[in-house]
Symmetry: C2
Subunit: 107 residues, 2 copies
Amino acid sequence: MFNMEMAEKLKLLGDKTRLTILGLLKDKEWCVCDLVEILNMSQPGVSQHLRKLKAQGIVNETRRGQWVYYSLNVVDKPYIQTILNELPDTQTLLSLLKQNYTNASCP
Amino acid sequence: MFNMEMAEKLKLLGDKTRLTILGLLKDKEWCVCDLVEILNMSQPGVSQHLRKLKAQGIVNETRRGQWVYYSLNVVDKPYIQTILNELPDTQTLLSLLKQNYTNASCP
DNA sequence: ATGAAATATAACTATACACTAATATATTAT
DNA sequence: ATAATATATTAGTGTATAGTTATATTTCAT
């Protein structure tokens, strides 16, 4: 059906947590455990969001040793880029979310 | 909370029916009964979608006599404009949806 | 090999949501 | 006033979804 793929992707963006993840990824890649600390939610919760984003091709995943890093994959999706432009940048997000996380575990 | 308003608007766009409505509105305003025929769904269903879109300021409503016409209100929402650019135009949507509707009722 | 850490998957729950049918409200025509 | 048409609201239902806890898998260090 004609608007389905579009709607599926936009549905993913219509979620506060995933928007925050994508906003964080604008600046650099993050591993799952980083996001768990920053977002202050369960690890399976974060993993499931990332899986959905990956299934729609919005993020890439790369395993490096123990850690799996996720990064944006929106070069061919201008309408997503425009949305991400509206989001606060990483530093702002981090300070808004500040849960005095330490980022000690994964280099 | 910081990404909420954005997520609320995007959530509305993450629905096939509402995306189609917005795609139709790119070209011109439509009244509810038109959309009911074109989308081939119940009138309350259409009204509820329109109410949500209006509550988020994405469409305007104007009553003219018996009919209430809805139109786009996205001049100040570039990220929505970008999304709408990706949608098929009105004619394409109409032919994709063709339910041999007649557009006889509302001028 | 074994244990620890990171990630993924499965099972479950509570809530949100899209849709429909039924009803109410509003406007026009007679 | 009354009927007819257009729209909105309410109530109810089935499904989707975001989150959790529990468990499995993967990788590294010892």
